[in-house]
Symmetry: C2
Subunit: 412 residues, 2 copies
């Protein structure tokens, strides 16, 4: 008898986005005249065109595939050397961070990598996640059996939730109980906030002391505006021994539909067998990728490489400037309505505190009804997100301006 | 303390292809004058150009991405409807097989899917694999802890190995012990042989009787030459309740470096919880893909769709004819040398029986030394592959003709 993985039965139905869709549909049905002017600032998906440099590079690579002398079949599962070198050079070495091309693993997405990385980790680790949190970290741990069931608040037994609040600047305190795996995400989704160098130093020190591993999601690093904010966990001394970093071309190059990302696994990163012997994870991850993955499409890797060209860098800068301009407008609109606003300075998300006593879903309904705008209720990201909502800055400038005006006019 | 997944430590080092590379390098160093005329018929990677129709479709989609009005961000994790519909219509409905678009899950590779499908299955299943076997089926089960250690012959404790020999036409007998998950691959890699409708009927009957699941790898289906050979497990009555099918554009459209594949999970397919209650796997796989995958690159999905256009179909047929022409030449060459040849009629692989007493690696060395040709020793695919070697038909016609001549001249 073929058994299924019963851990899947513990998962909550994808509650957040279906519920948003249900409410938006009901609202649109009741207000057909307003459907055309509805503006969505919910999901964190890019809206602007794929950069010229990227498209040119993909076109060129596709043409190469049309000639048997330049055709490419299976590529290296870890990514082509040209792309691994470009990443190591531009994202790390040029910033004074020692990361070699062989420590870069090219993939089709950071979501996939953060999920798949659990493959090489053992089943007895105590897992810590931030709250509010990107739901994938939680769900993938549920799927592999690292948790019990969820309680009424949606928290899974066996996970350690690290509260991120206005009081701690949305960077969690070190846990009182020892944990083995810690998910950190900065610039943060959903709060749009960043961690300081000192805060990351404290986490790295914690990880080294406890022989723990930090899974550091830096998918939004391109939005960091100045050097006061650390861009990579590997800027922190000692992180090479205790951290993995996930990065993506989704949000800088607009690759959400084009798909390319990478994970940095330093050679010095260690995990432990049951006898306490340290073993490097680099080889295990490489073996995992060789066995369960076949590399990213060759033309797409050429497209990603083009992001590091001079033209690509200029085009990506313009995209970032566009989205960050939106963020500023949106934050201004919310502030003008008297709301307290977090994030949005080094990230494309604004995290808005609701007026006292207004729940996340109440705020969702109010913004939908009063402003004809879809936002994301903070409670959808975890119990500590209750009382907040997230506005995404991924939109056209005209829409961002209009949303800012409408937010400003809401009477709370 | 962060624990690693100790199951990875049970894996054999990727012995086969590194050992081939070592011997080829040693030979080339010792015979520098012959390096230029060395021909590789080892790895199963396509060699001919990506079809025009596919490249045109990718170019067009990349151009769409350059305009914000036609730009596409995140797509559906299960694949775009246009591609799922094209697959369901052309590969199934038009063949009289009832498979709907919603049962098709588009992915970046069959290797990935066959590995990832274990995610939704429980940990207590008894797993059966063919011997010789595509090593990924074995290694991915080792990785998730479904096996003990390997013995000296490389067989892992806890797996049920199903011998595939000339006596059974390389289609395994039904197992004497009950198994829950069965990997079948036809047209077969490495033997190049096919299963008859009657043989698949027996396997489906077995699976239904034991409430087992067949993981059916049909990556090489495009090479089937006539309707006497089943193309899909779903041609067999009852298979919708007990089988998953993996297919790929790698070997028909030449997508090994372009990456697109799909998996068919029928709505009727059931697995069981520990109380014996049947639950459909379709929703679990869909949830798995939504959570751990972000869909295939949009331009690449458009390229895959183009395979089903009239032009695409004609171009793929020409590719198949090319490789199958090679297979015929290569089989002829081996036969002319007095060897017994299997496969190669509905698959791009020739499975050659060594003369009595010649081991797989002896044959490898002899073909390398006498013919300056690289083949794959059968023992690399499992203990029942000992005494055979595999020749891949993925090559230029000129190379295939030359290899056929050289094989013919070997004195065994």
């Amino acid at each position: 008898m073929a058994y299924l993985n019963e851990n899947y039965l513990k998962l909550k139905a994808g509650y957040l986005f279906p519920e948003i869709a249900r409410r938006v549909n009901a609202f649109s049905d009741a207000n057909p005249d307003r459907a055309a002017s509805l503006i969505k600032c919910g999901i964190g998906d890019v809206t602007e065109a794929l950069p010229d440099a990227v498209r040119e590079a993909i076109h060129k690579a596709v043409d190469e595939m049309g000639d048997r002398s330049s055709f490419r079949g299976y590529g290296p599962e870890q990514g082509y050397e040209f792309l691994r070198e470009a990443i190591a050079q531009n994202d790390y070495k040029s910033q004074g961070i020692e990361i070699g091309a062989h420590e870069i693993f090219v993939s089709d997405g950071s979501k996939c990598d953060s999920a798949n990385f659990l493959d090489v980790l053992g089943s007895k680790n105590r897992i810590a996640v931030m709250d509010p949190v990107y739901p994938v970290y939680v769900d993938t741990n549920v799927m592999v059996g690292h948790t019990g069931s969820a309680n009424d608040a949606g928290r899974f037994e066996g996970l350690v939730y690290l509260p991120c609040t206005a009081d701690n600047g949305f960077v969690p305190e070190l846990p009182k109980e020892a944990v083995d795996i810690i998910y950190l995400c900065y610039p943060n989704n959903p709060t749009g906030t960043v961690a300081t160098r000192e805060q990351l130093e404290a986490w790295v020190a914690y990880a080294r002391e406890h022989k723990a591993i930090i899974l550091y999601d830096a998918a939004y690093v391109a939005f960091v505006q100045d050097d006061s904010v650390p861009k990579s966990i590997f800027e922190i001394e000692g992180a090479h021994e205790c951290a993995v970093e996930f990065r993506s071309f989704s949000k800088n190059g607009g690759f959400t539909g084009t798909r390319c990302a990478f994970t940095v696994v330093p050679e010095k990163l260690m995990a432990y067998d049951e006898t306490g012997d340290a073993k490097p994870l680099h080889g295990l991850w490489s073996r995992r990728q060789s066995t369960k993955f076949n590399g990213v499409s060759y033309p797409i890797q050429r497209g990603a490489e083009a992001i590091y060209s001079d033209a690509g860098q200029a085009q990506v800068s313009a995209l970032i400037e566009h989205y960050m301009g939106n963020a500023k407008l949106l934050a201004g609109g919310a502030r003008a309505a008297g709301l307290t606003v977090y994030g949005g300075e080094h990230a494309p998300y604004i995290w808005v505190k609701n007026p006292e006593g207004v729940t996340s879903w109440d705020a969702f309904d109010k913004v939908l009804n009063d402003a004809n705008v879809v936002i994301t209720p903070g409670a959808g990201f975890g119990s500590m997100g209750e009382g907040y909502f997230r506005i995404s800055a991924f939109n056209s400038r005209a829409n961002a301006e209009e949303v800012a005006r409408r937010l400003q006019d809401i009477k709370w």
